[in-house]
């Protein structure tokens, strides 16, 4: 087991290097100008732009820039952002709490909802409950978040005025009232994300349960005279959770990527919003850092998922 983990970690290093190189190359070759917002301003002539490019190190050829980036990364330096002129890592730390609060909480709620709903709708297949769940999860699945988000804003924020449109990231929670405010401002973005994620996970949980429900060992358990509740929870559930847990583990890195559309819609300004504005502003160091952190997490959680598979399913052996 230890040997397996060690080997996987060692394989991960060249994988990450290749990933970082590819991302860097794509970003370097893609068109864009960090000063694009001032593109037509005659007060910023080409000579000024050239000075700024030199300051950013953009006057050097990109393979050299990559070499510099990767070596400073080994020293723990993620570089500085073109738009804030300050260290990238500070920005990431600043954005992380918002993303964890909103996207992380939504993921947690989605998992907590999806598993029991999935189980129930599998056990009571084709019942009214199952039909409803299927219907709503297909809606949640197929309606994009920019649509549900806008709809929620229109109904609950603009017409009913229950929730604010603008998310305040500087709200200090020091009393019950401010806590209430925080809950209110988090409600809509979390709701939009929960709808989408629950939908997907419910479908997965349901089909995984159904796969197992029709197997021989279930029939055997029932034939032995076990109570249906025990059959479902002890036998079927434990087995059908294995793929679901892997899926949940693989989904965790996406929390850190933020939810680009939802964050933008509600102005949560977490990591997703940071990524998209940085891409728009050609703020290469920030895009590099975010995508690279994301790839590290993906590789890591892949490994964790694989290990968990072995823990949960004794038939799997690592060699």
């Amino acid at each position: 087991m230890t040997q397996y983990i060690l080997r996987r970690v060692l394989i991960a290093i060249p994988t990450l290097l290749v990933i970082s190189f590819v991302i860097f190359a794509v970003l370097a070759l893609a068109p864009g100008d960090p000063l694009a917002q001032f593109a037509l301003n005659p007060a910023i002539p080409e000579s000024t732009r050239q000075l700024i490019r030199i300051q950013f190190g953009l006057d050097q050829p990109w393979p050299l820039r990559y070499a510099k980036w990767i070596t400073s990364l080994f020293r723990g330096d993620w570089g500085f952002s073109f738009s804030t002129k300050s260290p990238v890592i500070d920005l990431v730390w600043q954005r992380l709490p918002q993303t964890l609060q909103v996207v992380g909480l939504a993921y947690l709620i989605a998992v907590c909802l999806a598993i029991p709903i999935g189980i129930l709708s599998a056990v009571k297949q084709y019942s009214l409950f199952d039909t409803m769940v299927t219907f709503f999860s297909f809606i949640g699945f197929s309606v994009p978040s920019f649509f549900t988000g806008l709809l929620c804003i229109l109904i609950f924020a603009v017409n009913l005025k229950w929730f604010p449109i603008v998310y305040s990231t500087t709200l200090e929670i020091n009393s019950l009232a401010t806590f209430g405010q925080q809950v209110r401002q988090m409600f809509l973005p979390v709701f939009v994300l929960v709808v989408q994620q629950t939908a997907a996970l419910t479908r997965f949980m349901r089909s995984s349960m159904l796969d197992n429900l029709s197997l021989d060992y279930v029939r055997t358990a029932r034939a032995k005279g076990l109570v249906e509740r025990v059959v479902v929870t002890r036998h079927v559930l434990t087995n059908s959770l294995i793929p679901v847990i892997t899926l949940i583990a693989l989904g965790i890195p996406t929390i850190f990527a933020g939810a680009i559309i939802t964050e933008n819609l509600f102005r949560v300004n977490g990591l997703g919003a940071l990524l998209i504005t940085s891409i728009n502003n050609s703020d290469t160091p920030v895009v590099m850092a975010l995508t690279f952190i994301f790839s590290i997490l993906t590789v890591m959680f892949n490994l964790i998922a694989d290990i968990m598979y072995g823990v949960l399913d004794p038939r799997v052996r690592y060699g």
Partner: protein, 613 residues
């Protein structure tokens, strides 16, 4: 099974009706009607119709006691579509950063909404009459206000002004506004409250430096070690860029780059007793539509910047009645540029090079026909709404410099006659004109943007009416405006016959604005398409007129020449001005102070903003 289906349908229908009912409530949007429904349990306070300012209608009642008369204090909440990322104005990457810096910093003087100078750190505006501007236009002497303090309590002196110049003029600093200081020979302190700026060559616009949002004064003590490469590389300077010390009414409290800036009252401000708000909060991100809703419908924020929303969407939001739009001046003129070079792909590397004349558009009659065929009215009314008004001029600010002679009504018959005269005839049964067997086909490019694609569609139909076929292209704004010499889709390469974008003079002098149509500035592969004249227009007469303009120092004569330059360009149809764009900013009716702006930040007078009843 069947009765189960029935149940399913019933539940679905109930859900659907609830949703529809919630949506349908929209027209009756007055606080008294919704409050009992929406906030019945949470905040009975909001039902009072006499409430003067209710930025937070529901549960906010517990935190901010809403006074009957607006007492000073509270928070001013501002929404920007783009978030502020850096506060040092000399390291800014967009207008939003300059606006963020404006709340903290002051220049010597600012422009008001009528493009007149208002002294800020200066005691008075130096003029020829009061001897502040030298007779030979080679220097200007500013008297500074006495007793001004930085927000850290230290005195503001002439040294800070000199330092600001040294900071930005150093090439290593990579200051964004180097061009503002390009003509500065030296800046000296005559005494601690008098500064003399000497120009390299006599200038007609002595107010280009230390004025407006590109001339704000930074503190020498804070940035002394940040000149040159240190400006962004040194850790202390990085901190200073994000948390600078200023002289304006507010100072920095908290800054999350790319998200929110919170400012608080500066107790050392010279008029601190009259600063209305306790805090100012500028939040960035999101889309313009929801920003408009946050001001006009929910009243969550007091002010929203640049509500660039199609008129059809914006008008019903404004109808909620909580807000006013602040629009005026000029954010720039949306124009169609004519390519005087041939963009034919068959030319390969010679494509759009200035020595390849455009086979269709080199003919003045064709250009005139295009200009006559375009109808500005639907563009302004259906697409721009409060965000722009039709214009026939390419130079619309300052008002004294704007031509009043031109008209640009649509004239379809006139356009057809011109095309007939130019030899482009309409063959029987065809809808596109031809000359020598070649059809009259043009390509028309712009950036991707809902409104711009709307304009493209209108222009296409307008020109189809006179027998010109237009093929439309649109590119991502980052690419189109990106000035990347390796990319074929930039506005500088101009690989099409017509293109549309907005441009605006960067300073009130207009020299650099009119320079972009001179022969010397023509874009080509030789100058890596960095000339600035993307039309490739080159006329000796225009150049002569431009030279006369730049060498003229008398303001009245300059105004006449600026009008002539404008008329020259429009009459020769080098450009087709369409819309004078205004950034419509939205403000709550209870907020007093915001004005429109052309040559300065829209927050130029934020120190005097207040709430009224």
């Amino acid at each position: 099974m069947s009765h189960k289906r029935l149940w399913t349908w019933l539940v679905l229908m109930v859900t659907a009706t609830t949703l529809l009912a919630a949506c349908g409530r929209k027209p009756a949007q007055t606080p008294p009607t919704t409050a009992p429904v929406a906030a019945g349990t949470t905040a009975p306070a909001t039902t009072a119709p006499a409430a003067t300012d209710v930025p937070k209608p529901t549960t906010a009642a517990t935190e901010i006691p809403t006074a009957a008369a607006p007492a000073a204090g509270g928070a001013l909440k501002i929404l920007y579509a783009q978030a502020i990322t850096v506060i040092n104005p000399y390291q800014s990457t967009g207008t939003k950063d300059l606006d963020g810096a404006t709340v903290i910093f002051e220049p010597l003087a600012r422009y008001n909404q009528n493009d007149e100078l208002v002294p800020y750190l200066a005691e008075e505006i130096p003029t020829l009459a009061n001897g502040g501007v030298a007779k030979d236009n080679k220097s200007i002497t500013w008297k500074l206000k006495k007793g001004v303090k930085w927000s850290d309590g230290t005195p503001f002196t002439a040294d800070d002004v000199i330092f600001t110049w040294q900071y930005c003029a150093d090439p290593g600093t990579a200051c964004v506004w180097t061009s503002v200081f390009a003509n500065v020979d030296k800046v000296e302190a005559v005494d601690p409250t008098t500064v003399k700026v000497t120009w390299k060559k006599a200038t007609a616009n002595p107010y280009s430096t230390f004025v407006s949002n590109t001339g704000m004064i930074i503190q020498k003590a804070q940035f002394a070690n940040c000149v040159g490469a240190n400006a962004v590389k040194d850790a202390a300077c990085q901190k200073a860029n994000l948390a600078p010390i200023g002289t304006n009414a507010y100072k920095l409290k908290e800054f999350k780059p790319g998200d929110t800036v919170i400012y608080e009252k500066n107790p050392n401000y010279r008029d601190a007793a009259n600063t209305f708000f306790d805090t100012v909060e500028i939040k960035g991100g999101g889309d313009s539509t929801s920003a408009a809703r946050a001001v006009c419908e929910t009243g969550e924020v007091d002010y929203a910047w640049n509500l660039q929303v199609p008129a059809a969407v914006l008008t019903p939001i404004l109808a909620a009645g909580k807000c006013d739009t602040v629009a005026g001046g000029s954010f720039g003129v949306e124009r169609i540029n004519i390519n005087f070079a041939n963009p034919d792909p068959a030319l390969g590397d010679k494509r759009s090079e200035p020595d390849q004349p455009n086979p269709i558009l080199s003919d003045l009659k064709v250009r005139q026909a295009i200009a006559k065929a375009i109808d500005r009215k639907p563009i302004a009314e259906q697409l721009y709404g409060p965000a722009g008004s039709p214009t026939c001029n390419i130079s619309v600010v300052p008002l004294a410099f704007t031509s009043t002679d031109l008209t640009c009504e649509r004239d379809v018959e006139g356009a057809k006659k011109l095309l007939d005269a130019a030899g482009w005839l309409l063959p029987d049964g065809k809808s596109v004109r031809e000359k020598n067997g070649k059809p009259l086909k043009l390509t028309f490019q712009t950036s991707i943007n809902t409104i711009r694609q709307g304009v493209q569609a209108i222009v296409k139909t307008n020109l189809a009416d006179v027998g010109i076929q237009v093929d439309l292209k649109a590119f991502d704004a980052g690419v189109f405006f990106g000035s990347d010499p390796g990319n074929p889709d930039t506005l500088q390469k101009f690989y099409s016959d017509l293109q549309m974008y907005t441009n605006t003079p960067s300073d009130i002098g207009l020299d650099s604005y009119f320079q972009d149509w001179t022969c010397a500035n023509v874009d080509s592969s030789k100058n890596q398409w960095k000339g600035g004249n993307d039309t490739r227009y080159c006329s000796k007469d225009y150049d002569a007129l431009f030279k006369q303009f730049t060498s003229e120092l008398d303001p009245t004569k300059r105004a006449e020449l600026a009008k002539k330059l404008n008329d020259f360009l429009v009459n020769d149809v080098v450009v087709i001005p369409l819309i004078n764009r205004m950034t419509p900013n939205g403000k709550l009716k209870t907020l007093d102070g915001p004005t429109y702006q052309t040559f300065d930040s829209v927050l130029w007078n934020i120190q005097s903003w207040k709430r009224t009843s």
